[in-house]
């Protein structure tokens, strides 16, 4: 037992809430909880238990950190880790009003599968469909579903003081259809993406906006892992990768695709990411990257068309062909092979790519995501990519050609650009080099006025944005008088 352990009396009080089976402070489990010596790990079953836990945290001035699927984070020792794993119910799928209400441990793949049966789907966050369906974020489908700044509707929130607050329409009735009213909106607190973007307390239920799904109720998957493929490309669906002679041409094509609203998904993958997604091992990925690099003429994007009918699909294809042609784009023909096309369709819609392209090559990645207008953020990312080249030459990070990636949001009205460094976290030299790159390029993003997620620079950003960080701290204090939720994490 460590000095951070709960006293026997306090332990018993928490145990009375969840039962002995769902509370543990044994040091044996802590390596599996982010290698952090938490005071204990507790697994509530419902909102009532969450509320009781938080009230006890306030009573004992014990800081807590809620986590759902838990693929993230650095954590402070001594906290109570609230593992929301048992809160895994889909409360409602409202087809008429197009939303789904879920608890934190429903993963996106589960909700997506249920939605597809009903002709619906949702935004799959870039973190992957293995993560919570209520996770805030952006992803492959932002072009047509926007990001989760928009997709959270009503939310049930247990505040750091232990009050249950129901936002939006839920605050004035029992309907989940709107996050902003009637009833309290609380958007800036509950779904703010401004750093630190860490809402205190715990989200115990949230309504997610859902969208029309033009594809099949279930993908016809054949084969055995990891060699899954589609037995047939679903009717009126198509996946392609187009490369362009310049960033400007690519960007013009992106704008036109947005304006014409033909894309189901528009993902500005670099070719290294395509290689990662179609490959079942690192060795295969390396070969595919080299091969595909020779097949492209410059930067490019991945696009999925999904027609509501054969005529709609044919129209979208014609428009796409015209846009690509007008901007001198070229399809990477080897990716048109139905086997590869099927892998990409499934990988990008059902999984949101992710693990193969992030953790597999080196074991770790570091990212700088930048929101804003794509043509501007791409320019920033080109600089960040050039800064990666010396690290690639030294063999400190995985060779992805130095490329960034990104995608349109809301038919290109907004956009996101992001750049990775993939590396071995156990290589100290690589670790330091990536840290330095990250800091330099984040600083540059800030100086050049890009909206980057710049963790640790809240004060600097605050000075540039009406000292919002000070206001944020004041708001936090009023919601969290005992500072039991200093790291936030309501959405993680």
């Amino acid at each position: 037992m460590t000095s951070m352990a709960l006293s026997k009396q306090v332990y018993t009080e928490f145990e009375d809430v969840v039962g002995p089976e769902y509370l543990c402070d044994d040091p044996a489990i802590m390596p599996s909880y982010h290698g952090t010596e938490f005071a204990a790990v507790i697994l509530p079953e419902n909102t009532t238990q969450v509320q009781a836990i938080i009230r006890l945290c306030n009573k004992h001035k014990l800081p807590f950190r809620p986590v759902c699927t838990g693929w993230t984070g650095k954590f402070a020792p001594g906290f109570l880790y609230i593992d929301l794993r048992r809160m895994n119910r889909i409360i409602e799928i409202n087809e008429k009003n197009m939303y789904a209400v879920v608890e934190p441990y429903v993963i996106t793949a589960q909700l997506q599968a249920e939605l597809m049966k009903r002709g619906l789907h949702l935004n799959v966050k870039g973190a992957g469909s293995n993560c919570s369906a209520m996770l805030r974020g952006h992803g492959h489908l932002d072009q047509t579903t926007s990001g989760d700044d928009r997709n959270h509707l009503a939310i049930e929130w247990v505040t750091p003081a232990g009050d249950i607050v129901r936002s939006g329409s839920l605050g004035s009735g029992d309907e989940w259809f709107c996050g902003d009213g009637p009833g309290p909106s609380l958007r800036s607190i509950l779904t703010s993406a401004v750093p630190p973007g860490v809402t205190p307390g715990v989200f115990t239920k949230a309504a997610m906006k859902v969208y029309h799904w033009p594809g099949p109720a279930q993908f016809p998957i054949a084969g055995v892992s990891p060699n899954y493929q589609l037995s047939a490309i679903p009717p009126n669906m198509m996946a392609r990768y187009y490369s362009f002679p310049s960033v400007e041409k690519m960007w013009q094509a992106e704008i036109k695709i947005g304006e014409s609203e033909i894309a189901f998904e528009l993902m500005g993958f670099n070719i290294a990411m395509v290689a990662a997604n179609i490959s079942t091992s690192n060795e295969e990925e390396e070969k595919n990257f080299k091969r595909l690099s020779k097949e492209i003429q410059g930067p490019g994007f991945f696009i999925i068309l999904a027609g509501n009918s054969a005529a709609d699909f044919a129209y979208k294809q014609r428009v796409l062909n015209r846009i690509v042609s007008d901007n001198d784009g070229k399809s990477v023909t080897s990716l048109e092979d139905p086997r590869t096309e099927g892998i990409l369709l499934c990988q990008c819609i059902r999984i949101s790519a992710s693990i193969r392209e992030t953790f597999r090559p080196g074991g770790m990645f570091k990212s700088i995501p930048v929101m804003g207008q794509r043509d501007l953020t791409i320019k920033w990312a080109i600089g960040a990519g050039k800064a990666k080249e010396p690290l690639i030459k030294k063999g400190l990070i995985v060779d992805d050609g130095g490329a960034a990636f990104g995608w349109g949001v809301e038919q290109g009205h907004l956009g996101k650009t992001e750049i990775f460094c993939k590396y071995d976290p156990h290589n100290e030299v690589a670790n330091q080099a990536v840290e330095d790159w990250h800091k330099e390029q984040s600083d540059r993003a800030f100086k050049e006025r890009y909206f980057a997620l710049l963790v640790g620079q809240n004060a600097e950003i605050g000075r540039a944005l009406s000292n919002y960080d000070k206001w944020w701290n004041e708001i936090q204090k009023s919601f969290d008088p005992n500072r039991v939720s200093p790291e936030g994490g309501a959405l993680v």
Binding site: S32, G128, Q218, P226, S281, N282, Q347
Partner: protein, 422 residues
């Protein structure tokens, strides 16, 4: 080398939790999306594949600090390998191997489970991990089978501990023998001389006992001049084909599960299933025949210096891809009247029956909890019966069915096939 050889693999875990779920493309709804019985039952991340390798990596770094909770985590795992399959869809890292090595390390350090100690004591005394009733070869009474130790035969029919001794399961051994007789196969059994394959002892953590058994079996096989082993037991199949090869004891022995052999005999026209067996069934993939049944891959090499985790020579991972999935299905499909409906979790991402890794002995409640989940899944298909190709699975299912009052029937695949050729 033990656990140490997997330090790099364990360090690769990115805590994505893929190990808890069937591969994401295979998630077909809210229900039946879990793949790991242990995390599903015990909920703390420590009980997942990822949590286990996190603990292993920390133990190598900080020492093995055994607590009752740690041993609870270690022994409440069926070692079914589903975590590794789901992880290895995307990641290049060993998962099941370090989890198994951790358990072996516990046994080496004397941190054993009393129920497993008792079973191993029985093994040392009787050559069987299953309770011994009568003589091992009694099941064959009246079948006039050859003694493979005395008569020169093409094929050794290896039955396994449970099926040899359990009166309720001996019918599977008998049906298997009659099928081979009907096909005119020149085969024999070891009878009373048969001894445990040792595979379950290995998974319980008792590596030396496994090796003792493996050597006994291979000595017998060599002395008898046997080139082919056929078995209805996935555990024996896994032992002879995979584990014996891993420890370089297999030589050039050909190992076939009975479903692979029947499939071949049907294709060769030596067996003709032409009698109707009107039954709506679903098929349960035994872990040791399915994802764990793929061949062992010998590899020795080192990481290529540089950015990427690639190896020289390239490392090929056992991802569950080449398990035995189609032969049992083909055998079922060859039976007129059988209507096969698949469950949600099948083949490489099948849900375990719950009995593996010694859990049926060390924690019967958890073993049965796992079995009930599978019975629910089987029932949801509308099938009248769940068919499997493993008597340990069948026994666990039957116990669950008895406790719940389910009307689902349980068959070993050879029982149905024999009806079709009767």
């Amino acid at each position: 080398m033990g656990l140490e050889q997997y330090q790099g693999d364990m360090n690769m875990c990115c805590r994505c939790s893929a190990c808890k779920w069937v591969p994401m493309q295979r998630v077909s709804g809210h229900q039946f999306a879990n793949v790991c019985p242990s995390i599903s039952r015990y909920n703390f991340h420590s009980y997942s594949g990822g949590g286990r390798v996190n603990i292993g990596a920390a133990a190598l770094k900080n020492g093995f600090n055994y607590t009752p909770k740690l041993l609870d985590i270690v022994y409440n795992c069926q070692l079914c390998g589903a975590c590794g399959v789901s992880c290895n869809y995307a990641m290049d890292m060993e998962v099941l191997a370090p989890i198994t090595e951790f358990r072996i390390k516990c046994v080496e350090d004397g941190k054993t489970h009393p129920a497993l100690d008792k079973a191993i004591a029985g093994l040392r005394q009787t050559g069987s991990l299953a309770p011994v009733k009568g003589k091992r070869g009694d099941w064959a009474a009246g079948l006039k089978l050859k003694d493979a130790g005395k008569d020169k035969v093409d094929v050794l029919l290896y039955i396994g501990d449970l099926t040899s001794y359990d009166p309720e399961l001996q019918k599977v051994a008998q049906a298997t023998a009659r099928i081979l007789q009907k096909a005119g196969v020149d085969f024999g059994i070891a009878g009373d001389a048969e001894t445990s394959c040792g595979g379950e002892a290995y998974e319980m953590g008792y590596q030396q006992d496994f090796l003792n058994q493996a050597r006994k079996n291979m000595d017998y096989i060599k002395q008898a001049g046997i080139k082919t082993v056929v078995t209805p037991s996935p555990h024996a199949y896994h032992s002879f084909k995979v584990l014996y090869d891993k420890f370089k004891l297999k030589d050039d022995l050909k190992v076939l599960h009975i479903t692979e052999y029947i499939q071949q005999l049907v294709q060769d026209g030596k067996l003709k299933p032409n009698k109707r067996v009107d039954l709506a069934v679903t098929y349960h993939d035994p872990c040791h025949l399915g994802r764990l049944g793929e061949p062992w891959i010998h590899w020795q090499g080192k990481k290529v210096p540089g950015d990427r985790f690639v190896f020289d020579p390239p490392k090929v991972y056992r991802r569950g891809t080449n398990g035995v999935y189609e032969p049992p299905r083909n055998v079922l499909k060859s039976i007129p009247g059988i209507k096969l409906t698949e469950m949600n979790r099948i083949r490489e991402y099948a849900w375990c029956c719950g009995a593996g890794g010694g859990v049926n002995l060390s924690n019967p409640e958890f073993s049965q909890w796992t079995a009930r989940e599978r019975i629910d899944e089987a029932t949801a298909t509308g099938a009248e019966a769940v068919v499997t190709a493993c008597t340990l699975c069948a026994k666990n299912f039957n116990t669950a069915i008895d406790a719940t009052g389910s009307r689902l029937k349980v068959y070993d695949i050879v029982e149905l096939f024999e009806q079709a050729i009767a």
